[in-house]
């Protein structure tokens, strides 16, 4: 039972990482199987087992912890294949989830999508209007009952929903996070009469001020319940049949693991958990190598995802958007644009300018060079033409690339119309993409109040290492790191995670705060977090609970998360809390920004972490600086500062040793990724096998 297995299901591939007691990491990939994702999960583990030369069962029997990142909830939402869900809400406010604060039509869209106003649409409803029932009741901003719950009316609404064939009922009343009595009464009523129905109430799912977002979160939890429950159950069964003794744990979108069994009733907390593993992996690796502030960049075939780690903690967003619905669920904040290897390059009519993306050739037909029917030039085609990809060693040789098709696509669609040479046109595509990525890194740090130049930049995902030399230099980040296992880094991040329970509740108050009231709030939240972790099998001694509060200046919209010191709150500790808020607010929004206003504390959060013993990654002794042993070839690669093709040494990633230093220009090839080192840049392999890139000396 010494083995740790982590499996990350993505849209295209399912990645598996295993760790043994000695800290040895192995990885395997299998195609994802959207019809039944559990198939791809089991396949990836079988391949990892095969890599060790054992049977699947033998590996599973030795597995003490099976961690899993799944996109099943995200897929159910995107394909609208969730449950038929009904909503019971406060009379007079039935339309809140449809009004969607009017931002719903624009939520999560890029600027270019937003400027096409005639084609904006609101969310495809997860709850149809006829299944929304208003019930007479009203609670006010103090939590006082203004109008008591009309239980007869509530019973009638439930009966109508049941007659309409709902599989789940969500309940969300105004101000229920201050006074949950009405929601609980309705939930009780449903459970007593219809024990088979899935019931979810906002005061449990997301007891946070903001009725639209709270309502959407609760309805999503109902909507995703059946699909998630079915998938988790099937996976549990398959793994148990294969010999796994313990219940698997799954990655939550806030980060951290929770028992698969627990997640069945909380499907919404799995939503958007896909990129989370990578950000946590970066935080864990950052601790190891002394990087506290990190920008994570994940470059895949179609998207470029940017996350942040500050002071060692992944940055959290409190109101994430899922397919046009804003929710109130703290999740790891990842910003994404449509830019990657598959992005299509085109000429803008009227101006003749070269543009890249946001359209992608996708996996089918894919870039022109795949020879699968694609004719339009993509970033991958451009990289191939520039010698930055090896036609015979793409995905370790699994897919042969056709340079002639790439040339034809770029010649026809880009070079001929602009008068550029084929290689200049290809370089233009790469330059434009790199510049856009740099822009997103800058926007997603500055937009959150941080200076990217004070951060280390981590690059992973299939195409990250190929482009990072350019966008890191452009942004001017201090350190650039391509982690070991960069192509399966999300799975690595899942493996590095601990069980986590995040519990939150709003109880808005204006300073000066009442210490006793705060103590009571935190005592309850802490108790719930500890209970949940205990249910995960964590022993109390291993639990650390940290406390936070979302504060803001009165009349302002920006909320700042402030850590709350341990112990009872009163005089000095409250003064320290206020001071910390001012400090953080000023750091993020400018000094003296709002100092004269009254301060509000709104939402209280407890994050319980169950520290688990894990096999430690061990640094290897540094080898020679000379990387000659890993040199496998020389190939012409096109670089603008060198005026065109220049002979470039190619190193094999697997043969590199810690301590090796590589001067650009150079390339490092692995079976699943390629790294480019520009002229003047320098790469170094550290003791853990990460490649550290110094971009300060480069010319591009």
């Amino acid at each position: 039972m010494d083995r740790l297995v982590a499996v990350d299901s993505g849209g295209t591939f399912t990645d598996c990482v295993t760790l043994d007691a000695a800290g040895l990491v192995r990885s395997a990939k299998a195609p994802s199987t959207p019809d039944d994702f559990s198939e791809g999960v089991v396949q990836s583990v079988a391949r990892a087992a095969a890599a060790e030369g054992v049977e699947l069962e033998a590996l599973l029997e030795r597995t003490g912890s099976f961690c899993h990142g799944t996109t099943v909830a995200t897929n159910a939402l995107l394909t609208r294949s969730g449950s038929t869900v009904g909503l019971i809400t406060t009379k007079g406010h039935e339309d809140a989830i449809i009004i969607g604060r009017t931002i719903q039509k624009a939520a999560g869209l890029s600027e270019s999508e937003l400027s096409n106003l005639a084609h904006l649409e609101k969310a495809v409803p997860i709850v149809p209007r006829p299944l929304i029932k208003g019930v007479t009741e009203r609670i006010d901003y103090r939590g006082s009952v203004v109008v008591p719950l009309d239980t007869d009316e509530a019973a009638g609404a439930v009966a109508e929903l049941v007659d309409a064939g709902v599989e789940a009922i969500a309940v969300c009343f105004l101000w229920s996070f201050l006074n949950p009595d009405h929601e609980r009464a309705v939930a009780e009523l449903i459970r007593s009469r219809h024990p088979h129905l899935f019931v979810t109430v906002s005061c449990e799912v997301a007891p946070v001020i903001k009725e639209y977002e709270r309502c959407a979160t609760t309805v999503l939890n109902g909507y995703l319940s059946r699909t998630t429950h079915a998938y988790i159950s099937k996976l549990q069964q398959r793994l148990a049949d294969g010999g796994l003794a313990k219940d698997p744990v799954v990655m939550q979108s806030i980060g951290g693991l929770t028992r698969a069994e627990t997640s069945k009733g909380r499907a919404v907390t799995l939503l958007g958990s896909g990129p989370t593993g990578g950000v946590f992996g970066a935080a864990a690796l950052g601790t190891l190598i002394g990087a506290e502030n990190i920008v994570t960049t994940d470059v895949g075939g179609t998207s470029f995802d940017v996350g942040l780690v500050t002071d060692g903690e992944p940055l959290v967003v409190g109101t994430p958007v899922f397919d046009k619905y804003h929710t109130v669920l703290p999740v790891i904040d990842v910003v994404s644009i449509g830019a990657g290897g598959g992005s299509v390059a085109w000429i803008e009519p009227g101006t003749g300018l070269v543009k890249v993306g946001p359209q992608s050739a996708g996996a089918v037909p894919g870039p022109a060079c795949y020879g699968a029917g694609g004719t339009r030039p993509t970033v991958t085609d451009a990289n191939l033409l520039l010698g930055r990809l090896d036609a015979d060693y793409f995905l370790g040789g699994q897919r042969r690339l056709h340079a002639d098709l790439a040339t034809a696509a770029i010649e026809t669609h880009l070079a001929a119309p602009t008068g550029l040479s084929v290689h200049e046109a290809a370089m233009a595509v790469v330059d434009i993409l790199d510049a856009r990525m740099a822009d997103l890194v800058r926007m997603s740090t500055i937009g959150r109040g941080y200076d990217p130049r004070e951060f280390a930049l981590f690059a992973f995902g299939g195409a990250g290492p190929l482009h990072v030399g350019a966008y890191a230099a452009d942004v001017g980040t201090q350190r650039t790191v391509v982690p070991t296992n960069s192509a399966v880094f999300s799975a690595f991040g899942i493996a590095a995670s601990d069980p986590v329970a995040v519990v939150q509740a709003s109880d808005p108050m204006v300073a000066p705060f009442d210490g006793d009231r705060l103590d009571a709030v935190y005592a309850e939240l802490t108790e719930r977090a500890v209970e949940e972790l205990a249910a995960n099998g964590v022993t109390p001694a291993d639990i650390t609970a940290t406390r936070e509060v979302e504060m803001r200046y009165r009349g302002q919209v920006h909320e700042v998360r402030v850590p709350v010191p341990d112990g009872p709150l009163g005089g000095d500790s409250l003064a320290a809390l206020m001071e910390e808020f001012r400090l953080r607010y000023n750091r993020r929004y400018g000094s003296g920004a709002a100092a004269d206003s009254a301060v509000e504390a709104r939402t209280f959060v407890v994050r319980g972490v169950g520290r688990q013993a894990k096999p430690a990654l061990r640094p290897a002794p540094l080898g020679p600086e000379d990387p000659a042993a890993a040199l496998v070839a020389e190939r012409p690669v096109w670089f603008r500062p060198l005026g065109g093709f220049a002979s470039t040494p190619i190193y094999r990633r697997e043969l590199l040793e810690p301590g090796n230093g590589i001067e650009g220009q150079a390339m490092i090839e692995a079976s699943n990724t390629t790294m480019l080192i520009h002229p003047g840049q320098r790469a170094e392999v550290d003791a853990w096998g990460n490649i550290l890139l110094d971009t300060t000396g480069g010319t591009r």
């Binding site: 009004i99 400027s115 109008v147 009519p349 330059d431 510049a435 926007m443 009349g555 929004y589």
Partner: protein, 637 residues
């Protein structure tokens, strides 16, 4: 990129122009810089106006003051910033415009859209040369004047509105001038909020300044200058190409501003080849104060309509567009005020209606184009209702607030689909209305309802989006002593239908006084609507009202839906039924506007009765038709 490369970039194109790659990178970088400035400003401000209503913007201008990049916020501000810069260029000695200087102005006759939209602009120098300007603006809730908020009720000229200040240096060579700041904050009832927004606007300018300077350092000042000119040229080229794709013709519209009398805003739009002319000269003579806009605001209003209708697939660069657009106005009208006419409410009256009217013409242009019909939109919410509240909150503190729920107007019908219910506001597609819980926590009110209101979108084969209706009472305080309710589109709908589509509803606000609402709530009931309550209904006839709300009064308003497209008699009856089942259309409206008879007991369309009803409506239309007298062209309004 190294200096050599920058040099290559410059020389590789013909005649020293930029190569297309460097240009595309710089173009997108300049636009990203502008976005960064906007984000910085929003972060520092933190106000709901800048962060939810998005009544703000940030622009980059070339050395002459032409705006080449504008954020996706309220676009009318592009011209305000541009005109302000041009005024400074003209009025200040070149030696008095230096690195680190920041100017501010709220003078509509210089450029600001109205006195509340303070413009802050700053020159950007690199290598000792003026390369560009940056500017930012945020709507302010109160800047003094006799009446709280923006609407200076009773004003007879600009002298009885908010104090004006033409461009003045607020930051001198990097040093904030405390005397100027103090003088500015002295005027407002809300010095804290206003002071914070001033800091925010300056912060936005500082970011743009530093980043453009970085760019010049890296690529060379000449390259950046060439890229800026390139943006204007590329946009003009792209926009002219768009115009050539569209049919030639003349379209016109007459919109109305209700005030002491009704003021028509008349526009005739002529599209010929690759030019576009908007002629507003037939608009009404100006009012004494409040509702007029100045010429820069009118030009900005035209740009604000052209961008969403015609520039849906290109970068938003106003100066490029302006090269192909001509705006004709007559001084002394509601859309080109002559000194000293007042303008305190311009952005929801004069310039608002100038945008709506231009938009109607553009929608007709698109409706006439087979290739661009899918971009057609009938009018979005053609009149914004705003409610300014001042009083004492539930904690005993003075407060000032703007209730902007009406921004969730209906959007216009499209040529392939209905408009969006609670779809929003054309000028600010990212605008957000506040959560009721946030409003109730901050202000002494309790919402009885906020729902999508049936039948408010214009009927049509494709109908306009419906909008909201809401009711609230005072809660946590004795009363709301100052409520200023103002809107246009209270006499007639601002959202017109196109090609046989019907217009929306009108903006409506009423208070039912002295009701039994407290007894009803205490007895365990929530009124469904005002009809459920006893009391005296006060229907406001005026488009601008200053009133108050007592403990037993219930306030109700209905905002404005979007316009419809094509004859509602051609809408499939099943789709009308579907609207009925979700509460978007009532039985009566289905029968009257769509000619669809719904059997509400069995929730189905009565097909025979519907056929008969539609025949009857067509007969009525034929009967009511009478020949036009005279041979003149019909007025499409």
């Amino acid at each position: 990129m190294t200096d050599t490369l920058a040099h290559e970039a410059l020389s590789s194109g013909s005649n020293g122009s930029l190569d297309p790659v460097t240009f595309e990178i710089l173009r997108s970088r300049l636009s990203a810089i502008n976005d960064e400035a906007a984000m910085t400003m929003r972060l520092v401000s933190g106000s709901p106006v800048a962060n939810e209503a998005y009544d703000m913007n940030v622009g980059l201008m070339d050395a002459d003051g032409d705006c080449f990049a504008i954020g996706m916020y309220i676009t009318i501000h592009a011209l305000a910033l541009s005109s302000t810069v041009k005024d400074i260029r003209q009025r200040f000695e070149a030696a008095d415009i230096g690195p680190g200087d920041v100017f501010m102005s709220n003078d509509p006759y210089v450029g600001a859209c109205h006195q509340m939209d303070v413009a802050v602009v700053a020159p950007i120098f690199a290598d000792g040369r003026l390369v560009a300007w940056t500017g930012s603006t945020v709507h302010q809730i109160d800047l003094g004047g006799p009446v709280e908020g923006q609407v200076q009720l009773g004003a007879t000229s600009i002298w009885s509105e908010q104090p004006l200040f033409p461009p003045i240096k607020i930051v001198d060579a990097g040093e904030l001038r405390p005397d100027v700041e103090r003088g500015y904050l002295r005027r407002t009832r809300l010095p804290h909020l206003v002071g914070l927004d001033l800091k925010a606007m300056i912060a936005g300018c500082n970011v743009a300044m530093a980043r453009v300077q970085d760019l010049a350092g890296r690529y060379g000042t000449d390259v950046v200058l060439a890229a800026i000119e390139g943006v204007n040229e590329a946009t003009a080229a792209r926009f002219r190409a768009r115009l050539r794709e569209l049919p030639d013709g003349t379209w016109s519209h007459r919109g109305y501003i209700e005030y002491d009398e009704v003021y028509p805003v008349v526009v005739e739009m002529t599209k010929q080849g690759d030019s576009l002319i908007f002629d507003y000269t037939a608009s009404a003579d100006q009012a004494g104060a409040v509702i007029n806009c100045t010429r820069p605001a009118c030009v900005g209003a035209v740009v604000a309509a052209v961008l969403p209708y015609l520039c849906y697939d290109m970068a938003w660069s106003p100066a490029g567009l302006q090269r192909a657009i001509e705006v004709r106005t007559r001084e002394g009208t509601v859309v080109h005020a002559a000194w000293p006419a007042g303008t305190s409410k311009a952005t929801t009256t004069g310039s608002f209606m100038a945008t709506i009217s231009a938009g109607v013409c553009l929608s007709k242009l698109l409706a006439a184009s087979e290739s661009h019909l899918r971009q057609f939109m009938s009018t979005w919410m053609g009149g914004l209702y705003v409610e300014d509240l001042f009083g004492t909150d539930q904690r005993g503190e003075f407060f000032g607030a703007a209730i902007l729920d009406a921004m969730a107007g209906g959007s216009g019908a499209r040529a392939f689909a209905d408009g969006l219910d609670a779809g929003g506001f054309l000028d600010s597609p990212s605008a957000i209305i506040a959560n009721i819980e946030d409003i109730e926590y901050s202000y002494p009110v309790l919402y009885l309802s906020r729902r999508i209101q049936a039948d408010t979108g214009g009927a049509g084969k494709y109908r306009g989006g419906n909008t909201l209706a809401m009711t609230y009472i005072v809660h946590g305080a004795e009363r709301l002593p100052v409520k200023i309710l103002h809107a246009i589109g209270t006499y007639q709908p601002g959202s017109v239908g196109v090609a046989g589509g019907y217009p929306s509803n009108t903006n409506q606000f009423v208070i039912k006084r002295g009701t039994d609402v407290r007894a009803l709530l205490a007895g365990g009931g929530v009124p469904d609507d005002l009809e459920d309550l006893d009391g005296k209904l006060e229907i406001f006839a005026d488009p601008i009202v200053k009133t108050s709300q007592g403990p037993d009064d219930v306030h109700r308003y209905v905002a404005m839906g979007g316009g419809g497209y094509l004859d509602p008699l051609d809408r499939e009856p099943e789709r009308v039924l579907a609207d009925y089942t979700v509460g978007a259309v009532s039985v009566a409206h289905a029968r009257d506007a769509y000619g669809v008879v719904i059997d509400s007991d069995r929730v189905r369309v009565d097909a025979a009765a519907t056929e008969q009803r539609r025949r009857d409506i067509r007969d009525e239309r034929r009967l009511s038709a009478s020949p036009l007298s005279g041979a003149g062209r019909s007025d499409p309004s």
